[in-house]
Amino acid sequence: MRLAMALALFVQVAVAQVTYERLLHANKEPHNWLTYHGSYASQHHTALNEITRENVGRLKLNWVWQGRSLEKFEPTSLVVDGVMYFTEPPNNVYAVDARTGRVFWSYRHVLPDVTYACCGKVNRGLAILDHTLYMTTIDAKLVALDARTGKRKWEKVIVDYKQGYSMTVAPLIVKDKVIIGPAGGELGIRGFLAAYDAKTGEQVWRFNTVPQPGEPGNETWGLESWKYGGGSVWLTGSYDPDLNLVFWGIGNPGPDWNAAARPGDNLYTSSVIALDADTGKRKWHFQFTPNDAWDWDAVQTPVLTEVDARGEKRKVILWANRNGFFYVLDRATGQFLHGKAFAKQTWAKGLDDNGKPIRNPDQVPSAQGTVIWPGVQGATNWYAPSYSPVTGLFYLTAWEDYWSTYYTYPQQYEQGKWYAGGSVKAPVPATNRDEVNNKRAKSAGYGAVRALDPKTGNKVWDFVMSDVSDSGLLTTATNMLFSGNREGHFFALDAATGKLLWRRYLGGQVLSSPISYAVDGKQYVTITSGAAMFTFSLHDPE
């Protein structure tokens, strides 16, 4: 008997692995959260329906995972068949029991003493394919781990971090490739999006987000400015399997606030690019902010759905941009369908028929400082919006009435040094790490969970918060919306009306997006707050 059990244990049978087919049909297994955005369409919506507007008041804290790092905690977890995988900054990885939070294994990536992350040694999460987890690192490596043991399979240097590169993005798996790119838009990098063989880590294709001489778009960079042009990649894109296109938002041009140093549109910065997933060839691009002078990275989640626009049902991307405008784009062609401002902005008079901004020439950074809406962190940013197929509404976290004073000055590039060509001041701090108490006037800027009608871009409702929020959103099949905020609250709203249904004070700023999953038929909701992760369900903790 004992021998038989021992043998049974050591016969290798197929563990359910996360095939590409499963990723492709992630919406067929809503109990799991298989990719950073939950599915290739990146709607941040769960089909799970145990938690409802009627019973959400009975949500119980099931477990807390306490991090040991004081870096900003920005990951979105993956959940695969009862196991949750996530990163702790800078580059540690954990596998925990999704029902109890108990740890199966952990992995520690050792960084060099000096690295070049612009804004904290953060990491946003993992990708999984078969039995392998993928993570990018602050020293610009791609690491592959065995999901069953946490053992490293291989790691590849993607780019020389000493030249100002770092990597924080959660990879996107398409077929047999791992798609990633580097951050470093404030350190004079030259960005790219690239695909690597999932088995070996060898590069398969690379698209330069700042084109080199001889590549289309290089002519949009005057004064040889392409050399340190930025174009960072730090938020995961989306994928349309029918079109075989990946859609990816690209970061700001550098130097950030000295646009005069880089005359031209500065393609493909502050743009969305659509690339063939097999070859990396560009199908189309759409630039939200040509010659961006404000640091408005287009690092938002490309939300894929279908809406009625210009008289017919179109396959679209919904995009609320850091620059304050909401866009609806045809995702086969990149055609601008419609758009309008969703929060206070003063830099543009509006959008023309092609979606190009009609710029207000006075609203640019200056030596003496110019007050401009939105402020430097944008009217929204990288945290996930959500689209609910139940309500047909698009939801985002907005920074309303938020402004900065933008300064510009000339600056020479120096390797490994901050290369922003200016500075900014704002009454709302970039994070709440230093000033905990909020004693600002509402007119200095505040936060809102905002529902938009994607057919018109009109506001449907607002859930107004005293402070701004860096939390993403999750909508549910049961007509709810979960989010957190900088104040440390985690809450559920009615997705149809914005009415508050439930809240818990978790005490630390929320810097990630909620997810939902189920194990043994029980639905859970997870959010980070501070350096910890909190998981709730309707059931008693196990």
Partner: protein, 219 residues
């Protein structure tokens, strides 16, 4: 402690002296496990010049740890077999069915990526001949039964007051102790003995191969 208490007989570097054998070969004649070394150091070997060392358990463990350093990392140079033939035996005997090595193989047994640096040559022989002689707690297995009657069997990878975490061929699992009607830790190895399954020369070859499994060096 070693130089003061042991060096007179075993030599100041442990390489052997007038009355004591060489302790750097990686093979301990009287037992290769940490436990047997502890017994020998603390109680001595009756009928030989080896006395017991009347120190605290903590100090004796420190001596054992030091003894390990005399041979750990030296397995590759002490191995006398043929590495290539050993590699073929590794494949032939399907060691990779359970053990991971350089990114390939199984995942239920311990990884062998760095086994040549972490184990003495004596330990490698002992592990192949008598896998049960010295199983580290991190390789112990949980065997139990749930109150619902389901068998639980897997490598224990974490434990707290209320639960076990373990892995088996199906993946990673967590089970509440309150849900188990039976639970025991199996301290024997799941690995079969290879004594008698290969010739002594083949054993030498396989050990030579394992001794050269080292991260950032070896073969």
């Amino acid at each position: 402690m070693f130089r003061a208490q042991c060096g007179a007989c075993h030599g100041p570097g442990g390489a052997g002296g007038a009355a004591g054998p060489d302790l750097t070969t990686g093979t301990m004649k009287r037992g290769n496990s940490d436990e047997s070394l502890f017994q020998i150091v603390s109680k001595g070997i009756p009928g030989t010049p080896m006395p017991g060392y009347g120190a605290s358990a903590k100090e004796i463990w420190q001596v054992v740890a030091y003894l390990r350093t005399l041979s750990i990392g030296k397995a590759a140079e002490q191995a006398k077999g043929n590495v290539e033939r050993g590699a073929a035996l590794y494949t032939q005997h399907k060691c990779g069915g359970c053990h991971e090595l350089r990114g390939a193989g199984g995942w239920l047994g311990p990884s062998l990526d760095n086994v040549g640096a972490e184990r003495s040559i004596g330990h490698l022989y002992a592990a192949l001949r008598e896998p049960n002689s010295d199983v580290a707690p991190q390789s112990w297995r949980l065997r139990g039964k749930t109150k619902a009657g389901a068998a639980v069997m897997g490598v224990r990878i974490n434990e707290d007051t209320f639960s076990y975490q373990y892995r088996d061929a199906r993946g990673l699992h967590s089970v509440a102790k309150s849900a188990l009607s039976e639970a025991a830790l199996v301290t024997e190895s799941a690995m079969p003995s290879y004594a008698g399954k290969m010739t002594e020369a083949e054993m030498d070859d396989l050990v030579a191969f394992l001794a050269n499994c080292r991260v950032g060096g070896g073969r």
